[in-house]
Symmetry: C2
Subunit: 204 residues, 2 copies
């Protein structure tokens, strides 16, 4: 958080004298995200995080103004782009890889999204943080996969199904818990892509 100072990226924080190491900070972030996954956003408490990380509430409140800021910081620190490395040269195979990767987080990011699903409708800042960290990077990577497929001529640029691929993937990923009572795993996602997404794109 303080490391986003105006100077270089890895410049040591000169102003703050916090004794909290980056590893310790990550413990806080991991703890709060896990509590969100387990209990839901509303039920997460600063006291709970303090207890599980064996720090004091004071410490948390010294670093972050309130729960929202704390969670936003945790989300931002958790940003990753899981689809980014996928580029096999074949659109169908790229989509299979993406489906597999998506299915593999079900125990993590999907639960997080599930737990934050309603909170983001109430807190714009939280919504923005979630979109920037969990949604947009993955959607962008997925659209990049599709763009390369179009560029290679595997699918026509005006295929209307292209637009809905991200919604299909993330939608199916997320709805399975409600429909079937379990999270969508890699196998399920790959089967879904092969059965529904690829045919709609005119691929096999």
């Amino acid at each position: 958080m303080a490391s986003q100072a105006a100077d270089g990226p890895d410049t040591v924080v000169a102003s703050r004298r916090s004794k909290i190491t980056p590893e310790r900070e990550r413990e806080f972030f991991d703890a709060v995200l896990e509590q969100i996954r387990e209990c839901g956003y509303d039920a997460v408490t600063m006291e709970g995080v303090a207890a599980t990380t064996r720090c004091s509430k004071s410490t948390l409140y010294r670093q972050w103004k309130n729960k929202t800021q704390f969670v936003v910081a945790a989300l931002r620190a958790n940003r990753r782009a899981r689809f980014a490395g996928i580029d096999t040269g074949s659109l169908a195979e790229d989509l299979r890889r993406a489906a597999r990767a998506a299915g593999e987080w079900s125990g993590k990011d999907t639960r997080l999204l599930q737990a934050l699903g309603h909170a983001i409708t109430q807190d714009p800042e939280l919504k923005r943080a979630l979109r920037e960290t969990l949604v947009e990077p993955e959607v962008a990577a997925l659209r990049e996969i599709l763009r390369r497929g179009v560029e290679r001529g595997e699918v026509r640029a005006d295929n209307p199904a292209l637009e809905y691929v991200p919604a299909q993937m993330f939608g199916v990923l997320r709805i399975r818990l409600v429909l079937d009572g379990e999270y969508a795993g890699p196998d399920y996602m790959v089967r879904f892509v092969e059965a529904a997404v690829l045919p709609a794109l005119g691929l096999d």
Copy 2:
């Protein structure tokens, strides 16, 4: 439910002498469901429902043991089957109608599902009630639409895309808020069906 009546010679059924009319009960149910949609399940309070319906907490607690039972009762009373009447004789048209109908609830059932999304992972009873009232009737109706299409020979019974139609419909419906910041309306859903679902089924 208030009667433990193990010893009383009186009626076991506890002759419901409640002055609460069915219309009044529906006010309670509507109020609690609307509060869930607006504030989320965790944030709903019996005091809030009592206030907005201008009844007393005592009244609510006389009828229902606690918040969970109250919400479960409200869900059960809200059960409907919105896809049930759809039968145009054409699978493609049936799916368009279903998509339009689905898009039309976005302001209601989808928000409810969104708000309950995490709560159902914690409370099995709530999960079951939600599935029985919001999920299963619609999925069953949708599968019935598909079954008729197969029967008419519009799509082969072994088309693997068949299995994923419900997941796609409800998944896309639900994920749009996260992806695009707005709920999926009827037009969006119809376009999605025409662009992705029908092609995967080999229609059009």
